[in-house]
Subunit: 109 residues, 2 copies
Amino acid sequence: MHVSSKCDMRGLLSFQVLWLLSKRPMHGDEIAGEIGRRRGEKPKAGTIYPALKELKENRLIKGNRKGKTITYSLTADGRSELRKGIMYLCRSFGDIFSERYSAPKRRLR
Amino acid sequence: MHVSSKCDMRGLLSFQVLWLLSKRPMHGDEIAGEIGRRRGEKPKAGTIYPALKELKENRLIKGNRKGKTITYSLTADGRSELRKGIMYLCRSFGDIFSERYSAPKRRLR
DNA sequence: GTTCCAATATAGGACGACCTATATATTTAA
DNA sequence: TTAAATATATAGGTCGTCCTATATTGGAAC
């Protein structure tokens, strides 16, 4: 297990890749690093590259090779899917975030 | 596919169950209904009951049978795992939410 | 008591998200 | 030129999240 041994938190990897690429074009290892900074654990090569391959085959991202690095960016389809994903995420988990960030009730100590 | 044909948004079901049960005790079908209201699609019986079984076996929730319905609530371990999950979610996806909810840049139309 | 429905249960299958391990290519350093 | 480091690729495996389909069980209605 990678985050918690009891409640699995896997999921949304491809979505997160789309989100990151909407900020700026990146290559694979760079994307993995950004995910690692957020999640606490950097996904391994065997995780990130198959995900990028799938996204590329689905034409949500496109790659531009220069030497040994491939810089990825979103396609129009990718931006569209990202928008849908964001709406889904906000509908599904928005209350968790708003509860945490607005009017925080701190425990006295 | 259940949400988008291209970018899979599955995941975090057990986590979402913990979150909902932290609000109030509920039985299985009720939990599925709440998830459905958020996600747009109510998970089927074959999805929700195995998830509840697993959570119970891991002692994150406990069930109280009354007739044909089982009302679930969090255990202390469940509350602890929920807290960890929330932190993970905020670290991983917090920027998506804050960008959406704070200072929205609307497109002119 | 039987019929019906609601709630739960479980088998079986597909697939994305994770891993380890191994391989290959390009670039850089020695 | 050779070695080491970096970036990518892929095989093979586990597991949670999804489904459909098929039970079972308890309560209510007749």
